[in-house]
Symmetry: C2
Subunit: 282 residues, 2 copies
């Protein structure tokens, strides 16, 4: 095992007909921390400052869920099915318990997985995310930027991240560009881009997640794991009020909100986020 | 200088006709952290786990503001006048800049002082507090418990803290009793109790602070200091929504909300609070 993401080889494990791409790095011992990525994102789209920072104290595992980027299969169109694939992946690695960090749609999947298979999860970190039937985004340009694709890379471009993940301030925009440079440091053994099928299925799953199912927020009461909820003060993708709701309805949840930031607060304040997550996970 | 509160002697400094009682301990070097106490509270009412924890990395100063407990003079009946006395005290110690930790009414004074004398303040920690004209408490028993006085000590009794500062859960109530034991570890060179004049004047100042003055929350924009806002998830004394407001309106504010706790969250999670405050102050 390598200690840093830059040199962690992409590996594969097969379960229930899906060949899952993953990378494992960091410490050998301790509860692994499994990362669940945002809309359209794969393993290359985390911030090395965050994943390497957290890998100093524990094993870190990145993966592409079914159909996403380098993993085989179709991306399903519900969060529940995505959580089922994630459980398959965890078990295929032979892990009996993990810590979960879910960001954005990855946070929806992390909640669904924790509620459905609580025995697999020790602690939960939910970043830039919200509950089922939470408050939807109101920003008029949200859908436009989410749908942008750079013809050269086949991926969501910097322009979209500047608008959707960071605040309009000079400080935040400058942090975005620094993040973007860090994110592109790995140039070999990288993911293939997400497919149109993945984008369409993730959109459908997000739409389905916005629908009420039973009593609003009632399922959050069953998350008994210690939970850390994190967001920027003005998230236009998953409005910050959803983070307040998570922290109010999950019985043992701590809430941290960062200033002058949005959806990508963990990429704007990587050292601070790592410090807070380390305190929480230890 | 001693390194711990338990053995820090009460000292006095005079300014503008007030003889201020204070205690200074912890490291010799670094920006001092000045604590501003809650309603009816004096120097003996902090949690040693919090003040000694923070004193490991900086000088810590506790004081009784004008008229409170061991300090001479009358307690004024406005937050602005309390802030003026605090500025006198800081200058009487010959300090050009401090970090401020204001809890509850101490947080009101800390805001007023920071707005009025920004050059004196490096960083600001606001715990269990709220802005001018914030949301008032709705709890029907709030006033009753706040007014209770133990005839033996002349002070607000444990019963009031169990109700007002902690959540009703077994975990929180148990943490309250542990806090109470820590709080009473110092038995020599202690404060005299707060006077009826102080209680009445602080009540009047709190009432005045609830009144609107100019555009609601506009003055918070002028707090440019990095600010850490902390509360429990359900503060019935200064409702938690006020902490959200502070973090939204102060330009560079970070918000941390602790689970299953109330007004006295820093006394329920002293080690966690110290860890978070250390990260913020350093």
């Amino acid at each position: 095992m390598t200690s840093r993401h830059a040199t962690a080889p992409t590996q594969f494990v097969e379960s229930s007909g899906i060949r899952f791409a993953f990378r494992r790095f960091g410490r050998e011992d301790g509860t692994p921390l499994l990362f669940m990525q945002h809309f359209r994102g794969g393993m290359d789209h985390w911030d090395p400052a965050v994943i390497d920072g957290l890998a100093e104290n524990r094993p870190v595992i990145l993966f592409d869920n079914a159909g996403v980027a380098s993993s085989s299969g179709q991306t399903p169109d519900t969060i529940d099915e995505m959580a089922e694939h994630a459980a398959d992946f965890i078990q295929a690695l032979g892990l009996s318990k993990v810590d979960l960090l879910g960001f954005s749609i990855g946070g929806y999947i992390a909640q669904a997985l924790t509620i459905w298979r609580p025995e697999l999860i020790r602690r939960l970190v939910l970043v830039g995310t919200g509950p089922r039937a939470g408050e939807p985004p109101q920003d008029p340009n949200y859908a436009k930027y989410g749908g942008l694709t750079d013809p050269k890379t086949g991926q969501n471009p910097l322009e979209a991240f500047l608008y959707m993940f960071f605040s309009p301030s000079d400080t935040s925009q400058s942090a975005a560009k620094t993040f973007w440079a860090r994110r592109h440091a790995r140039t070999h053994d990288v993911d293939v881009s997400e497919s149109p099928q993945t984008i369409a299925a993730q959109r459908a799953a997000i739409t389905e997640w916005r629908q009420l199912r039973g009593e609003r927020f009632a399922e959050l009461k069953s998350i008994t794991q210690p939970t850390l909820v994190v967001n920027g003060i003005n998230d236009i993708v998953v409005p910050t009020v959803n983070s307040f709701t998570l922290s109010q309805k999950i019985p043992n949840a701590q809430l941290i909100i960062y200033p002058d930031s949005g959806h990508g607060s963990l990429f704007q304040f990587p050292e601070l986020f790592v410090a807070h997550a380390n305190i929480f996970l230890e």
